[in-house]
């Protein structure tokens, strides 16, 4: 099938690569000419394991282009994979989706299946349909399908091949799109869940909101464990063996970040409020996550009351390991808080870079050695595999102080204490 993917972010590129691998001819469109040029020269501008290789292997079936009209006209199915950031109130900003609608309305002259992959608030797909009609696209020329992505940065390619489900939201009387969706995903094993447009949108949000709830639940438990001298890791293990609970996402630490969870929770909360539903749990989940950093700061200040001019080595900048994404990164939020306390920050990450606005006030160390050299305190903010297995004896020798703040409860407290470190985790007895 001829498929056009609008947007060359990590969702758009992963979708492009996988659909090409499945045998489709894919035109991937992005407004950014630099990005398209890079892609044409086989350079993938984001870090995503396996993606560059997959694009290269399928280059005969992939076209990168900035001209959306050309792509839309040539294709049977159009996949919307543009960004949906949040504005300052937590409301999703649909600017990019709206501009896609403009482009679509100017370019549809024959039947197309329009598939929304971007995470959009409940009701958006209905709105897209209405807008297209309003802008003069003939109703018989398109059907709209909500097909939210469930990709995790760092394993997006794997996730697309091994997804636990393919969610398909359809209009009530649309009989045409389902076979088309089956053809598009022919070769993937994930079961299809067919529901309404809004139902599909909601599945995506509820999925992420629940995982965030798990994280906030265990973080809140860790605070109680701290007070009772109980090890939260024992609690996670003990409750995680119950299959109704499951062991994943029960890791206490600095909280969740990234481009999905914080944004999706805000958007779902906003969707609830706009319909006069009070979403108390979603609110509590967000509050716990927001205050988790303060908890660490308080713990740090209890052993280092005056943070001014102290050198703090922060290991990890990205919001989680194996990605260069720093959006809503807890590490970055922590760094900003520490800067406001007058600390000297030296952050190191295997691939992520400090965002511009932080870079002015903090040092991006090029090596781990540079970061920890003469540091008063070391904070592990992102659990990159390399950081877990550091030569801690060597670290101790390089540092000036002996405080280790383990923001992910991924280090062994006993081992570190034996080396003379003062260890700070959460809920670790």
């Amino acid at each position: 099938m001829n498929i056009c993917v609008l947007g060359a972010g990590y969702v758009g590129l992963t979708t492009t690569a996988v659909l090409a691998e499945l045998g489709h001819d894919v035109i991937c469109i992005d407004k950014d000419p630099d990005k398209i040029n890079q892609l044409r020269q086989n350079h993938v501008p984001i870090y995503e394991p396996g993606l560059a290789e997959l694009i290269k292997n399928n280059s005969n079936r992939i076209t990168f282009c900035t001209d959306s009209q050309k792509g839309i006209i040539k294709s049977d199915a159009i996949i919307i994979a543009v960004g949906t950031p949040t504005d300052q109130d937590g409301k999703p900003d649909l600017t990019y989706v709206l501009s896609v609608i403009e482009e679509l309305s100017a370019s549809i002259f024959s039947y197309k299946t329009i598939i929304t992959k971007s995470t959009v608030p409940p009701g958006t797909n209905e709105m897209i349909e209405q807008l297209l009609i309003k802008k003069g696209v003939k109703r018989e020329y398109f059907d709209i399908v909500s097909n939210p992505e469930f990709l995790r940065e760092g394993s997006a390619v794997y996730d697309m091949f091994h997804s636990d489900k393919t969610v398909i939201g359809l209009k009530k009387h649309d009989l045409r799109s389902l076979p088309i969706m089956r053809e598009i995903y022919n070769g993937l094993e994930a079961p299809f869940i067919v529901t309404s447009l809004t139902g599909a949108e909601l599945i995506k949000y509820a999925n992420n909101a629940f995982l965030a709830t798990k994280i906030s639940f265990i973080n809140e438990m860790s605070r109680i464990c701290d007070a009772y001298g109980v090890d939260i890791e024992e609690i996670s293990k003990g409750i995680g063996t119950d299959p109704r609970i499951g062991s994943q996402f029960l890791q206490a630490g600095l909280g969740y970040g990234g481009s999905c969870f914080p944004k999706d929770l805000q958007a779902l909360y906003y969707a609830a409020v706009s319909k006069n539903v009070t979403a108390q749990i979603l609110q509590a989940v967000q509050k716990v996550n927001e205050t988790q950093i303060d908890l660490y700061l308080k713990k740090l200040q209890s052993v280092m009351p005056d943070l001014r001019d102290k050198k703090i080595a922060v290991l990890g900048i990205s919001f989680k390991p194996n990605t260069d994404d720093t959006r809503y990164s807890r590490a970055v939020a922590l760094i900003e808080k520490l800067i406001s306390q007058g600390c000297r920050l030296s952050a190191f990450d295997p691939i992520a870079r400090l965002p511009e606005h932080v870079l002015e006030k903090a040092n991006q160390a090029e090596t781990l050695e540079e970061s920890i050299d003469q540091a008063d305190c070391l904070i592990l903010a992102t659990e990159w595999e390399d950081f877990i297995h550091l030569d801690w004896k060597h670290v101790k020798e390089k540092m000036k102080g002996n405080i280790i703040v383990d923001g992910r409860n991924c280090l062994e407290p006993e081992k570190l204490k034996a080396l003379g470190f003062q260890y700070i985790g959460v809920g670790r007895g």
Binding site: P122, G123, F150, D164, K165, V167, P191, I193, T195, S196, T198, G199, A200, E201, L202, I203, A206, N207, A209, F210, L211, T213, K214, F217, E220, M221, R223, I224, A227, Y228, G229, V230, D231, E234, I235, K237, G238, I239, T241, D242, P243, R244, I245, G246, Q248, F249, L268, A271, A272, K275, N276, V277, A279, Q280, I281, L282, A284, V285, K287, V288
Partner: protein, 437 residues
């Protein structure tokens, strides 16, 4: 084979005792209630729990299970003593430990051999096993060594026997390896993975487990309320989420909330446990609030549909807090009956086995009937409260046939919407679009 005593013959104590006897131990259950002990000696369970009577009779007959009112008789030879007494909830949500303390004293006064392991099965706040240790030490009559172990139960009423044999894990919190190993060894025949930890962690695991499951229920109910307003179907949403192995499909059933003797009590107790160390457990408080509101949700929906319920005959199908039990504690039916009466409706309620218990909670303010049909006969509105099989499987035609006007509010999403559409009934459920044929 171990010689075991079990203090307390509520559903946890009795099920524990009976199952331990069934895997080969010699078990004596002790309770101070003479009449109860006499009944149990006959192999009759004072509580409704599927399969319990049969297992009791079997093990009484083969001589492995005995009942007594005498602590001395039960404890004198015991190598392991289980405490499985009630820990009722107090006004502030915290657990009342008076029965635990009494059990500790009784143990202290009667143990005579060295090395007895005292195992707490009851759900108790963090630190309670330390207190048990102290209470026993304070009252010890003979100079003997003993250990305490926390071994929380994870039984569900209605499937407690099944759960004992097919649980996901047995949590053993001990202060030393000797005690942990004894309890591990005696549990081995169950063939369930054993998770050994320290005492306080074991105590906390129990609360955290129930609090998390309650969180899951309230989460899906909160999403259901959003779903309803957006015109989506919560069943699709829950199914989609449940396929994610990090979430899992269980406990994602939207409805009118959780009840029973564990979730409401344990969630409130954990909020209190947190409060004791000056932590406001925001998330769990939200979970409890959502549940309280959810129990009132169905009547609220009915009030939106009818201008007034005054003089209407309302059928309530199901009273127990969940199917396969006669337990009425914290059941949504209690809240609903109150609401309906306040609105001036006449309530006619059916439950296959919980009616006797329900009378203790709801009293004679409502009419109790023996069949679904008599509840529905000429009713203006029907409320599905508990998803008993016979209620779930009731043909939708029955509503149309028997009711004055077939308007059904389903608090447990028992029927498939496509199926409902084929019948001439008006149907409202939780987190799904209403149907008016």
């Amino acid at each position: 084979m171990k010689i075991i005593a079990v203090v307390g013959t509520g559903y946890v104590g009795l099920v524990t005792g009976v199952c331990l006897a069934d895997i080969g131990h010699r078990v004596t259950c002790v309770d101070i209630d003479e009449r109860k002990v006499e009944t149990m000696k006959q192999g009759v369970s004072p509580i409704y729990e599927p399969g319990l009577d049969d297992l009791m009779k079997k093990n009484i007959e083969n001589g492995r299970l005995a009942f007594t009112t005498s602590h001395q008789e039960a404890f004198a030879d015991a190598e392991v003593i289980y405490i499985a007494v009630g820990t009722p909830q107090q006004e502030d949500g915290s657990a009342n430990l008076q029965f635990i303390e009494q059990a500790a004293k009784d143990i202290a006064e009667n143990i005579m051999r060295d090395g007895v392991v005292v195992v707490t099965k009851s759900t108790v706040p963090v630190g309670t096993n330390d207190k048990v240790k102290r209470w026993i030490l304070e009252h010890l009559q003979h100079d003997v060594q003993f250990d305490v172990v926390s071994n929380p139960e994870f039984l569900r009423e209605g499937s407690a026997i099944y759960d004992t044999f097919h649980g996901d894990r047995i949590v053993i919190g001990a202060e030393n390896d000797r005690a942990a190993n004894i309890v591990e060894e005696l549990n081995k025949p169950f063939g369930i993975p054993i998770f050994k930890t320290d005492i306080r962690s074991a105590e906390m695991i129990k609360y955290a487990s129930n609090a998390f499951l309650a969180t899951k229920i309230s989460f899906i109910n909160e999403i259901a309320n959003i779903s309803e307003k957006l015109g989506a179907n919560i069943e699709d949403v829950a199914y989609g989420m449940g396929l994610d192995s990090r979430i899992g499909s269980q406990f994602l059933r939207a409805g009118i909330g959780y009840g029973g003797s564990c979730f409401p009590k344990d969630t409130k107790a954990l909020v209190q446990i947190a409060g004791d160390v000056e932590h406001k457990f925001d998330l769990l408080e939200a979970v409890i609030n959502v549940n309280n509101k959810q129990q009132a949700r169905l009547v609220e929906l009915a009030l939106n549909r009818f201008t007034s319920l005054r003089g209407k005959k309302a059928a309530m199908l199901g009273l127990a807090f969940k199917p396969n039990t006669d337990d009425m504690r914290e059941a949504a039916s209690i809240v609903m009956a109150e609401q309906l009466i306040k609105e001036g409706a006449t309530v006619v309620a059916y439950d296959p086995i919980a009616i006797e218990n329900a009378k203790k909670f709801i009293g004679d303010k409502i009419i109790y009937v023996e069949t679904i049909e008599s509840a529905l006969e000429q009713a203006d509105v029907a409320f599905i409260v508990t998803e008993w099989d016979q209620i779930k499987k009731l043909p939708l035609d029955t509503y149309a046939k028997l009711m004055k006007e077939p308007i059904v509010f389903d608090g447990r999403n028992c029927y498939d919407l496509e199926e409902v559409k084929k019948h001439s009934i008006e149907y409202y459920s939780i987190g799904r679009p209403g149907i008016k044929n």
